[in-house]
Amino acid sequence: MRYLLLLVLLGAEIAAADPPDNYPFVSYDTGLQQAQQEKKPIFLYFGRYGCGFCAKTNKESFSDADLKKRYVDNYVLVYADAESGGRLTLPSGERITEAELGAQLNVFATPVFMYLDMNGELLFRAPGFKTVKEFVDFDQYVQEGHYKTQSINEFLSKR
């Protein structure tokens, strides 16, 4: 029983720093390769250890089962810790850290959600806490190809 309690406590602590539970998030370099293989766009989640709005998004939005199925089916899910020294290798061959990736992509507040095409090109970025509905809207913008003809704000203003 004590062991179980310890596991629960440990899990709660890890959840405060990490992507939402039970989602198949991978690292940025792995995700770029996977996107090419699976011909899927990339959902890139930049978080930070102790980031309150990340925890809020995990708890209030990513806990939604339908949203989870939609995003797992439609994207290669990538998570990056904006403070991490974890190493990545970019398609160019450059080796950088997750924190450096954040610097290059100008991620200065977390969370930041980025939608990339399967080649890693940025489609748009959505900083801050997002609701389930917002994530669904973003998904439709990407999956239905609206990004080819209009900005995300133009798309959202018509809904």
Binding site: E13, A16, A17, R48, Y49, G50, C51, G52, F53, C54, A55, K56, A82, E83, G85, R87, S92, G93, E94, R95, I96, T97, A99, E100, A103, N106, F108, A109, F129
Partner: protein, 398 residues
């Protein structure tokens, strides 16, 4: 009228107290690489340049050999260029080198390779044996030497949430290194992940600063060891809001502490701090006047013009001759990344100054700075322009 004159006098006295920008030599190229090769000036404590006598030495990592390796180049006796790059790491992929000056034109270099940490004494004429320090897995080593002859290393050792900061004293004789009893810097029961340590020596002991995650977010902690004694309990360096917004979690982030000493009793700590979170990281600093035993209140090292963009890659230096403090970093206030520095004189930070040669077209970033014994500031940084990378150096002149 009297009031106006008084105000004017006060303003003038304030302005006069601020440090003027330094004057620098024309920058030199340390090394340049072709497309597909990537230079990195990343390390715990950002110690990439050191000065021993009339020799300046720069260490970095690049993949010119097909895998990341550690290289060094020297500028000897005011020559107009650097020596050719020399590889100093071994056969595996190597990362995050640091350097500190020893006497007689020698330098101590450390880096990570095969999840272990390695040390080597080098000079323009000789390379000593490579020795290991700590136990695998270990990473993020930083090193320092004090004016009292003390030399030490700090690093993060252990897996994931059991990664803790260790300190090891080093005894160096010519090119031979002996590691003396590595030990935990913080032996408290509640410690959690500890990363990116920095080290500085003062006359009364040595101070270590690191990233600490025990409170649920990343904070900057420091601990002081009086000369010949164990480390005292840690203190938190980055100040938090007294009534934080609960939506912001356990508090704003802070990361990558650096330390610099004047060789006497002053130590400056600097780090990237997200307390003004809407504009990303700012550069904050705290100064100790008692050898690292305690630090005064936090100070914002950058000026207001950098408020709208994040700052990255803070490096710090402290001048032995007059206590002038300096921090350097890169930011994008001019659209593309440039290197800036700010000077701390009599407790006041100057405006931000562009580092000559490290601003303009292309991206200039990842500065590392150090003062020499004569009071000149030496700086290195990366330049990325039209797909090519190069590493540059400059030195301030009187």
């Amino acid at each position: 009228m009297t009031r106006f004159l008084l105000l004017l006098a006060l303003c003038c006295s304030h302005v006069n107290a601020l440090a003027d920008p330094l004057r620098f030599e024309t920058p030199l190229s340390v090394t340049a690489v072709s497309a597909g090769v990537f230079l990195h000036l990343d390390s715990s404590g950002r110690r990439s340049v050191a000065i021993s006598g009339a020799v300046a030495a720069v260490v970095w990592e690049d993949n010119r050999s097909g895998k990341p390796a550690i290289y060094i180049a020297y500028r000897v006796q005011d020559k107009s260029g650097f020596t050719p790059s020399e590889k100093i790491s071994m056969q595996s992929s190597a990362y995050e080198p640091v350097i500190t000056a020893l006497g007689a034109q020698r330098f101590l270099v450390a880096w990570e390779e095969d999840e272990r940490l390695w040390l080597r004494v080098v000079s323009p004429s000789k390379k000593g044996e490579v020795i290991v320090i700590g136990q695998a897995p270990a990473k993020q080593i930083s090193i320092a030497a004090g004016t009292n002859g003390k030399i030490g290393a700090v690093w993060s050792q252990g897996q994931q949430r059991n990664a803790y900061v260790y300190y090891g004293e080093l005894q160096v004789a010519a090119y031979a290194i002996e590691v003396v009893s590595p030990r935990l810097v913080d032996d408290s029961k509640d410690k959690n992940v500890q990363l990116y340590p920095a080290l500085a020596f003062s006359q009364s002991g040595h101070a270590v600063a690191w990233e600490d995650r025990r409170h649920g977010n990343t904070r900057i902690f420091a601990a002081f060891a009086p000369k010949g004694q164990p480390f005292l309990p840690y203190q938190q360096l980055n100040e938090l809001e007294s009534s934080p917004n609960p939506d912001l979690g356990k508090g704003s982030g802070a990361m990558r502490p650096v330390l610099a000493s004047d060789g006497k009793q002053a130590i400056i700590a600097a780090w990237m701090d997200k307390r003004n979170w809407r504009s990303g990281y700012d550069v904050y600093a705290a100064v100790s006047e008692n050898g690292g035993a305690s630090f005064a209140k936090n100070e914002q090292a950058q000026d207001e013009f950098g408020e709208n963009v994040p700052q990255w890659h803070a490096s710090a230096a402290l001048r032995e001759t007059d206590g002038l403090g300096a921090v350097a970093w890169d930011d994008t206030r001019n659209e593309n990344s440039d290197v800036f520095y700010s000077l701390r004189k009599q407790g006041e930070w100057s405006e931000d100054y562009e580092l000559p040669g490290a601003a303009g077209p292309g991206r200039q970033s990842h500065p590392a700075i150090v003062f020499d014994g004569q009071g000149s500031m030496h700086a290195v940084w990366l330049n990325h322009e039209e797909g090519h990378s190069s590493l540059h150096y400059t030195r301030s002149v009187k």
